[in-house]
Point group: C2
């Protein structure tokens, strides 16, 4: 007697960056932020939550990407489960006719459709998917704002993956976090011309974890304090206006400036934190060059807490951009595993002559990078928020209440 629901949830990539908490247990940020939700056709987390009365006497269990992982030692996960169960229990207390699902045991199976090796943060899509699926399985009458606060308890940026399209996270003012929640600036249908490329950059070095890194920034960087107070509030307003007006030039400039400023505050942290490497620098210089040379804003780069780039650009610029990056990073032009949407050139394509001379100068004057310094290019677009998956094969739980596939 298992009740189960399966959902998927999207990745989001911030254009106004979140970096710093004013309350580390409630995950309340030092500044508001804004992101674009990416299509789940290319990148998503999938979660099945099953509840059953016969699991009530055992601990809740979870399998993540095929491996069982302890729940009890993960405080954030415990918080998400507690919150959802308490919300269910409140319903049951108010209506004695409801089944007592809050007393049943829980099993969670969650997977990402992109490998960890892709270097893409999965905590946002993962926690958004978890709280969304818990809300469905418990039939919680929650709004998007409510869900976003639940997701925030798991991972700050997860609150923005609760909505599709263009999503703000209002930092809020309350010490309880009741007003620190996400909101949709515009839906995914608002600006269909905007697309994204993800450049997956090789990096042997494991960077400082964002949880640890952002607190060191809050504690040691005086530039970050100035950013929180004097710069982000204005940028949030400008960015929302740019999105509503589909003004790519302004969107692009603020996106690039905010990415740079986030990494600047990492560098102003003591000891300093580096997420950009020489490959990231070259990507920035290529985008800067193409924007300068063509006399218009063709593309915008942004980097999270790692060397991978996300490039936002109008649909019409994508073929040229993909060719340009394939020229600079030939190792990226192999067969991608995102075969549905991966629109790259056949391996071995020679493009040099089709580019203006300055690009060749950039390549020649840059330190020689390993041939696989960009391992993969993913071409995707703006997408919707979490979705229930009703088809029976969507479930990750088998009839025995265990994960269907289990890898090491």
């Amino acid at each position: 007697m298992v009740r189960q629901v399966t959902c998927t949830a999207p990745v989001n990539i911030a254009v106004i960056k979140y970096w710093g908490k004013r309350d580390t247990s409630l995950i309340l940020p030092t500044n508001s932020s804004l992101s674009v939700t990416l299509s789940q056709d290319d990148l998503h987390s999938r979660t099945t939550v099953g509840i059953a009365p016969e699991w009530s006497n055992e601990s809740d269990r979870m399998w993540l990407n095929g491996t069982e992982s302890a729940i009890a030692t993960n405080a954030r996960l415990v918080n998400c489960l507690k919150m959802s169960r308490a919300q269910r229990k409140a319903l049951e207390d108010a209506d004695s006719g409801l089944p007592r699902w809050s007393q049943w045991g829980i099993r969670i199976v969650s997977e990402n459709n992109f490998p960890t090796a892709a270097g893409l943060a999965s905590s946002a899509s993962g926690y958004a998917c978890l709280v969304y699926t818990l809300a469905q399985v418990f039939e919680l009458p929650l709004t998007g704002a409510d869900l976003s606060r639940n997701a925030r308890l798991g991972s700050g940026s997860a609150c923005r993956s609760i909505f599709g399209g263009f999503v703000g996270w209002d930092m809020g003012q309350s010490p309880t976090g009741d007003d620190s929640q996400a909101y949709q600036v515009a839906p995914e249908t608002h600006w269909p011309d905007l697309e994204a490329l993800i450049l997956v950059v090789s990096d042997l070095k494991k960077g400082v974890s964002s949880t640890a890194g952002m607190q060191t920034t809050v504690e040691t960087s005086s530039l970050a304090q100035h950013r929180f107070q004097a710069i982000v509030p204005k940028r949030m307003r400008q960015m929302e206006q740019a999105i509503l007006a589909k003004d790519f030039d302004t969107f692009a400039e603020i996106t690039m400036r905010d990415s740079n400023q986030f990494h600047a505050t990492c560098l102003d942290t003591f000891p300093p934190i580096f997420y950009l490497n020489d490959t990231s620098r070259l990507i920035i210089q290529v985008v800067t060059a193409i924007n300068c040379l063509s006399g218009r804003t063709q593309a915008a780069y942004t980097f999270d807490a790692g060397p991978n780039a996300v490039i936002y650009a109008p649909k019409a610029h994508m073929p040229y951009l993909i060719q340009l990056f394939a020229y600079f990073f030939p190792g990226s032009a192999g067969s991608g595993y995102f075969s549905d949407s991966y629109q790259c050139l056949p391996e071995g394509t020679v493009l040099g002559k089709s580019f203006p001379e300055p690009f060749q100068v950039i390549q020649q004057t840059f330190p020689v990078l390993p041939v696989d310094s960009v391992r993969r290019i993913i071409h995707t677009r703006v997408g919707p928020g979490p979705m229930m998956r009703l088809e029976p094969e969507a479930s990750l739980l088998n009839a025995d209440g265990l994960p269907k596939t289990k890898s090491a």
Copy 2:
């Protein structure tokens, strides 16, 4: 009938960085700065200035590192010559008994004892040497502060090379620049225990020139504005106190934080400016690791507008530091051309086993860098300001009024 004087002047490396002008023609900075003058035994510019009545009917001439270069097209050079001649002319106007040297033609020969390939900025030592030598040849009764204002017209940081030891540059308030001048915080004899290593880092890519880069920062970085107004004034006071107290821990921490913050404002510039590369990052991480592992501040790094590192450390830490950098950068352990002071290990020395395991972890987790990513290590110390060189062989002019040596 040639009157000539030869002088040498030192390089200085800032610990509170100068980056930004509020007046680009008078070279008035957006913030005060502070530097350490390095020993001329290792690094210096040498300049001979000759004046002769028979050159009065020709243009002034200059040879820089063996090549004649036009004076008229170099506005800063013209300003320095004009200023010195005007100061001489004022003396002659006040005392008709003085020789009319201000009407004589000038020939300048200047050389650095370090190759351009070393990637070390030579404009500071070069302009300091020029204005100091001009003052000697014209017998100008100038104080150090006066000389520093003359040097500032050539290159901002040159004003700090007019003094030895530890040198501040007060940004001043006057629009004429009359109060924007250098002062000695402490002489070179004050803190003999403090020494320096210069790690010369290979970089194919020529960075943005500091003249162009700093103005883009002033125009586009809001973090830089905050730095100028709210951060540097306090750091200047703290740094002066640390130097006077010979408090290495405080000196080191402010030095590292200020270098990081300068590069953070470069990254916050739009489009962003990068001077640190992956090799620079590794040097920062090695210094951070050694300071953390040993539980004390062993060394401080600082980076100017390029990837080269300068490491300040107490004399006693130097042998270990040199071994550590030679371990990370084996290409640096060849025979240096600074044979007098270059204290490195013989080529091929294997040091791995003498270092704690975390250093090996750092090396293994970092991207593989070219073997010559640090090309050279120069070990030097704090030194005096410009000096006249009286020995006849010091002159760079031959009996014909031409450079003694002339290379392409």
